[in-house]
């Protein structure tokens, strides 16, 4: 059965590589159409209240003007809860809420148009814990917490906070909408063409065949182009329908930062029982996520966050409770990691504090508790042989000579810290069953063509899927073409999110390829076409038989497989400026199988660097419900001067249902950097519990005794009261 693989595991040329390095690749702002109108969004300037009047202080001749009354279908951005209007009607829930749309053929005239909105203000809520509106509450329980705490020698508590983070893809959100064939065609920068397709059907009241969505080359997404394109596509489509002309709506950087989604800020509280030897006996975890003004994806972000909240550790008695709360800020949404970076930040910083409290080193406490094959997670998922938590830990410790380095740096301005983490591949629980993704292969003269809605957004989708198909069919890589992600031509292979494209969509395509290989028999593609005519093979997702999940109790097999990672960061603190400079970064990732090692390395390096930005630099300042530093001048992401040399080690422990053993890889790299940084700062003497660790936070941080081994006990519980209070209110 096993065929010799020819391209899998090798660094073949990426499919669209040449276009990207020559400037020939066409991104949304590179497209132009005859009679094109430019568009502009008029947004609220208050965080909470209602609209009392709209005045046009300009000559409206030549303008197309759209408000909520122009919506022919339902005025919502269809996603999960359908609570977000596409255009505000009366109520305002955040300070970038779209109210009015303008289009004009001259950009200068468009920009000059003055619209006055009058409001009646209402008091906003910015503190998620003070909010009265809960989007989602989830509880996960395993064992009996009281028994676990009774078996503990020590209880360690802590509260950890993370801030917003902006995805900061270098290409801002943008679309072009064209009225076509009595319906609408939308080109755009996006991750999920079929999300946009469905949203447009609902908004415009059109049948599916009257809506066509085509992804253009996309300049980065990171989750920021998961759900937001449905909003902006709706806006352009409304203007195009009304004007009867093509409409381009491309945000500038400031608008993109002010209005589009960001990572959910979080507050996570841990109360953990441990034995003297360092074994976890009970984990009580409570998480609050700030959802922003509308539910969007907050419930599922919370779910993934909570499932990862106990980290890659074995413990018989776990309770994890969480809520996603409404605040009067722009909706928070998908961002690489999807809740897991927040909760694993808390888990991993807490783990170092547990080690400190016990006088153990951070490696030892993780060695004792790391999940092994046969163990169960918080949701009761029994892990198979593809669990590699201890392997990645050992490899990282060995590669960095961690213990010796830690002793050598003690008492200096440098610190070294690590984090151990995991990430579930694919949609959570029954999500993949609900998605029921489909993908197809069509026979061509030279080979085959992949038909899938999975998007290339930099990670190498086209290349990696083509490798899987090529090797499964025994064809050369170059003879596999990849169709554009165009809903008029490809089936719905699901959204390009959740570290699912390689493992889930790759597997569906592999099954298509297996089927097609059998049908071809000994014929070449050309011979087959001559004799039998066109051939298209379509397959849908099949849940592995051993998986089960109960959404109500959040119990069962949350993910088909998990990736496993361990990061080690060495950094230096400038005790005059309080700046932190990462000096060296090593990460070990176990990802099942690296289909394209160089692309996989790129995911790991890039995600790790984003995580370093999250840890140290990326500070979204919210003032009156509005991002106060919405520009690249004032919001810093890592530059060449900030990013340390990144050493990536990939391990492969195959997942039996992944194509060639592959698991997901896209998100996990961002889970580990921030806790490793904070743990390194802890080693350097700074007790921080929140990110980003800006110089201001460092200056204000408690300074720990500067000795490599600390044995003081953690102060008595001081958050029990607030835990009790929140339990009552939720």
């Amino acid at each position: 059965m096993a065929r010799t693989t020819k391209s899998v595991g090798r660094n073949v040329l990426r499919k669209e590589g040449v276009e990207k390095v020559t400037g020939a690749a066409r991104y949304i702002d590179d497209l132009t159409f005859p009679n094109l109108l430019h568009a502009r969004t008029i947004r609220s300037t208050i965080p909470c209240g209602e609209i009392t009047g709209v005045r046009h202080n300009f000559d409206t001749a030549g303008f197309t003007i759209v408000d909520h009354r122009d919506v022919p279908g339902k005025n919502i951005v269809a996603l999960i809860d359908d609570d977000q209007p596409c255009l505000a009607e009366r109520l305002i829930r955040h300070a970038a809420e779209p109210i009015l749309l303008l289009a004009h053929e001259h950009r200068e005239t468009l920009v000059a148009a003055d619209v006055q909105i009058d409001y009646r203000r209402a008091p906003p809520v910015y503190d998620p814990e003070a909010s009265q509106t809960t989007f989602k509450t989830i509880a996960i329980e395993k064992g009996r917490l009281d028994e676990g705490f009774a078996a503990a020698d020590l209880i360690v508590e802590g509260e950890y906070r993370t801030g917003h983070q902006e995805q900061l893809y270098i290409e801002p959100n943008g679309v072009v909408a064209l009225p076509e064939n009595g319906g609408i065609t939308v080109y755009g920068s996006m991750q999920c063409p079929y999300y946009v397709h469905r949203a447009l059907m609902v908004l415009l009241g059109l049948p599916g065949d009257k809506v066509r969505v085509i992804q253009t080359e996309t300049g980065g997404g990171f989750g920021g182009k998961e759900e937001y394109p449905s909003m902006i596509a709706g806006h352009a489509a409304l203007l195009a329908k009304k004007s009867g002309r093509p409409v381009k709506l491309v945000y500038d950087r400031v608008e993109d930062m002010l209005a589009t989604t960001k990572r959910h800020p979080s507050i996570v509280r841990h109360r953990t029982g441990v034995t003297r030897e360092g074994r976890l006996t009970a984990m009580d975890i409570e998480a609050v996520f700030d959802g922003g003004a509308y539910a969007t994806l907050s419930g599922v972000v919370l779910s993934r966050g909570l499932i990862h909240a106990s980290g890659p550790y074995r413990c018989d008695h776990i309770r994890i409770r969480g809520r996603a709360m409404m605040t009067n800020t722009p909706p928070n949404g998908a961002f690489r990691g999807f809740g897991a970076p927040q909760t694993q930040f808390a888990a991993e910083v807490h783990m170092d504090r547990i080690a400190d409290a016990l006088g153990l080193d951070p490696v030892r406490v993780r060695e004792i508790n790391a999940l092994r094959p046969g163990d169960t997670t918080a949701t009761g998922q029994r892990l198979g042989r593809d669990c590699s938590a201890r392997q990645v830990l050992r490899e990282a410790v060995k590669r960095t000579d961690f213990r010796r380095r830690r002793r050598a740096l003690a008492g200096t301005n440098r610190g070294i810290g690590l984090s151990l983490f995991f990430h579930g591949s694919g949609f959570t629980g029954g999500g993949e069953v609900k998605l029921a993704s489909k993908a197809s292969l069509a026979l061509t003269e030279r080979g085959v063509r992949i038909l899938a809605a999975s998007t290339e957004i930099g990670q190498g989708t086209r290349t990696m899927l083509a490798q899987i198909v090529a090797d499964t069919m025994g064809l050369p890589y170059d003879s596999v073409e990849v169709n554009a992600a165009d809903t008029g031509e490809v089936p719905d292979s699901g959204p390009t999110v959740a570290s699912r494209t390689c493992m889930v969509v790759g597997r569906i395509l592999q099954r298509c390829a297996e089927d097609m290989r059998e049908r071809l028999g000994r014929l070449t593609p050309r011979e087959y076409l001559r004799r039998h005519g066109p051939l298209v093979v379509t397959k849908a997702y099949e849940r592995p038989a051993e998986m089960s999940w109960d959404d109500n109790s959040h119990q069962g097999d949350a993910y088909g497989s998990h990736g496993w990672g361990c990061d080690v960061v060495e950094l230096e603190v400038d005790r005059d400026t309080w700046e932190v400079k990462p000096i060296a970064f090593t990460t070990v990732h176990e990802i099942g199988k690296a289909i394209h090692p160089r692309l996989a390395t790129g995911q790991i390096e890039g995600g790790s660097a984003q995580g370093l930005g999250y840890a140290l630099l990326e500070h979204v300042v919210m003032r009156d419900g509005r991002m106060a530093n919405a520009s690249l001048t004032d919001y810093s992401i890592p530059t060449t001067l900030d990013a340390p040399p990144l050493q990536v080690v990939m391990l492969e422990n195959p997942y039996k249902h992944g194509p060639f053993g592959a698991k997901g890889v896209g998100e996990m790299p961002i889970d580990g950097s921030a806790p490793a940084v904070i743990n390194a700062l802890r080693h350097a003497g700074f007790d921080l519990r929140a990110i980003p660790a800006t110089p201001e936070k460092l200056m204000a941080a408690d300074v720990l005794p500067r000795s490599p081994q600390r044995t003081q006990r953690i102060s008595p519980p001081k958050i029990s009261a607030s835990l009790a209070a929140s339990a009552v209110s939720s």
Partner: protein, 175 residues
């Protein structure tokens, strides 16, 4: 306004304060130069003016009157950096790539690691963490073509019984 664009004499009829970026993209239909921020922070719009890298979003077209302007299209797909960026992962989503390559061209043939860090500090990349960009520039300098070969330094580093999977083995790769 007259200038030399990618080796060709060019005359454009534009307001002198119009951004060079817009003149290139709209008047000259060269859309390889990208806009990422419009305020000179991201470097996606980097082009060479008389050989020096500039953010074309900050340059009024009047400034290039009589100058030599080179954009990504001017490399004709033949510059060693272009090939190296494809092969070594220097380009992921590709939106920063034209500007990054132009900034790298300005570094000369064999830049040192420090020269790369400093010279590219004005070009943001959100995908790579920069490591693959350094590797691409290094490889372009060496002029080595490694098309289709396995990853550099791939080796089996470990096998494990406890974590055995399909083939009972965990293999390691170092990038």
């Amino acid at each position: 306004m007259r200038f030399t664009l990618n080796g060709q004499h060019r005359r454009v009829n534009a307001h002198p304060m119009r951004r060079l970026l817009d003149v290139l993209r709209e008047d000259c239909a060269l859309t390889g130069t990208k806009e990422g921020c419009g305020e000179g922070e991201c470097g996606a719009c980097t082009v060479l003016v008389d050989g020096a890298p500039v953010n074309s979003c900050l340059v009024p077209v009047a400034h290039v009157d009589g100058a030599r302007v080179t954009t990504i299209e001017g490399l004709n797909g033949r510059h060693p950096l272009q090939r190296a960026f494809v092969e070594h992962g220097g380009a992921q989503c590709g939106i920063c790539t034209p500007g990054m390559i132009m900034a790298a061209v300005a570094l000369g043939k064999r830049p040192t690691p420090d020269q790369m860090k400093t010279g590219l500090a004005g070009n943001l990349c959100r995908c790579t963490g920069y490591s693959a960009i350094y590797r691409s520039i290094d490889e372009a300098g060496k002029g080595i073509n490694r098309r289709g070969r396995g990853a550099r330094g791939v080796k089996k580093t470990q096998s494990s019984r406890s974590g055995s999977g399909r083939n009972g083995r965990i293999t390691g790769k170092t990038s």
